[in-house]
Amino acid sequence: MDGIHDLGGMGGFGAVEVERNEPVFHEPWEARAFALNFLGISVLRAYNVHEYRHAVERMDPAHYLAASYYERWLTGVATLLVEKGVVARDELETRAGGPFPLSRPAAAGRTGAAPDSERPRFAVGDAVVVREVHPRGHTRAPRYVRGKRGVVLRVAPRFLFPDAAGHGLRAHKEHAYHVEFPATALWEDAGSRATVIVDLCESYLERAS
């Protein structure tokens, strides 16, 4: 989905603040929220990590930007546990003593087509173009490379197709590729001698003509 999470290249953001000797967790609740996601995925097996990513992407955009990382984390976990019927939103709000904002409902996912062969379709050095599509569900092709031409730097192993897995649909595996784009091909005013390498699954790519 063309959501607020897809931040690459977006303008208007200021300085990056680096905290010296930053602790892993700043508050005790962050560690609990972190562990609750492991519970949901590995113990309860209520959802997978792709669904978790998509649940965070579905947050209200204003909430997404205002929330800390672990607030987004908690919101994703709670959303999925409510959607899967493990807990009720009313119970959460009663226990919390106030509103518990959750993410918006998911649009339909897409299963796509499994490749005919386990062999990679593209090879190192091949010129490829990222398909210009805008799925309403989960996808991992960032907006800033769609329609852009790049060159394959490395062929990665086969992984689950995220656009299906992100919706709990049966997902096939396909190869991923590290595709290199000159920064100036993405943003005309980007400085020279810079490239961006994006990890893209085979379904996101077509051969450049």
Partner: protein
């Protein structure tokens, strides 16, 4: 937030976390000690000291360096470092001519096995938005000014590959042992927003 049924301020995030934990516990879904164990094991086992040890080994053992660049997953497992999210680790070698830097523009994926959980700055919208578009400017703001003749490669962790930067070994560390070297490798250097420097003492 804009749900018309909930116009008032949300419960605090600490209260919401407690509410979710209590609701699950009341249903008998949380094994005893599970949440504490998971959080403390994560802190202990997944941290940037692992990556620092990998780097120190690569700086002192040419055969290990070669294995690391050829197969980052196997070479880090060789030193005992693995994590559920780091099935396929690719190590990016900095050279005097090429500087590598890592981001995850769509969430905040990191190689937990060697870098640990990502720091706040890495997860910030500012870093995720800007590093792909203006890497030199942002790196300079963060204290790493790169000469114009050094090429920058920005790696967006948009799939299941996880990355770690193998920084340049700083001058003045000739003859240092692995432990001494590992002690100067920071998380920021493993991500590519800092050089490894010899501390002035």
């Amino acid at each position: 937030m804009s749900d018309p049924r909930h116009p008032v301020t949300p419960a605090s995030v600490a209260e919401r976390t407690r509410a979710l934990e209590e609701a699950l516990t009341a249903k008998g879904l949380v094994p005893d000690g599970y949440l504490d164990d998971t959080a403390s094991r994560t802190k202990q086992e997944l941290n940037p000291e692992n990556g620092a040890r990998v780097v120190a080994r690569a700086w002192t053992d040419a055969a290990y360096r070669e294995r690391l660049l050829a197969d980052g997953t196997a070479a880090s497992v060789e030193l005992g470092f693995k994590a559920p999210n780091s099935e396929y680790l690719v190590v990016l070698e900095n050279t005097p001519a090429v500087h590598n830097v890592i981001v995850c523009t769509q969430c905040s994926c990191t190689a937990w096995s060697v870098i640990g959980l990502p720091p706040d700055w890495y997860k910030s919208p500012e870093y995720r938005a800007r590093i792909v578009r203006e890497p030199r400017t942002l790196l300079a703001e963060m204290g790493l000014a790169l000469p114009e003749d050094v090429a920058v490669r920005v790696w967006d962790t948009s799939g299941e590959t996880r990355y770690m930067v193998l920084p340049l070994r700083p001058a003045g560390t000739e003859g240092w042992g692995e432990e001494q070297l590992a002690a100067i490798v920071t998380r920021e250097a493993l991500i590519g927003v800092a050089r490894v420097d010899v501390p002035r003492s």
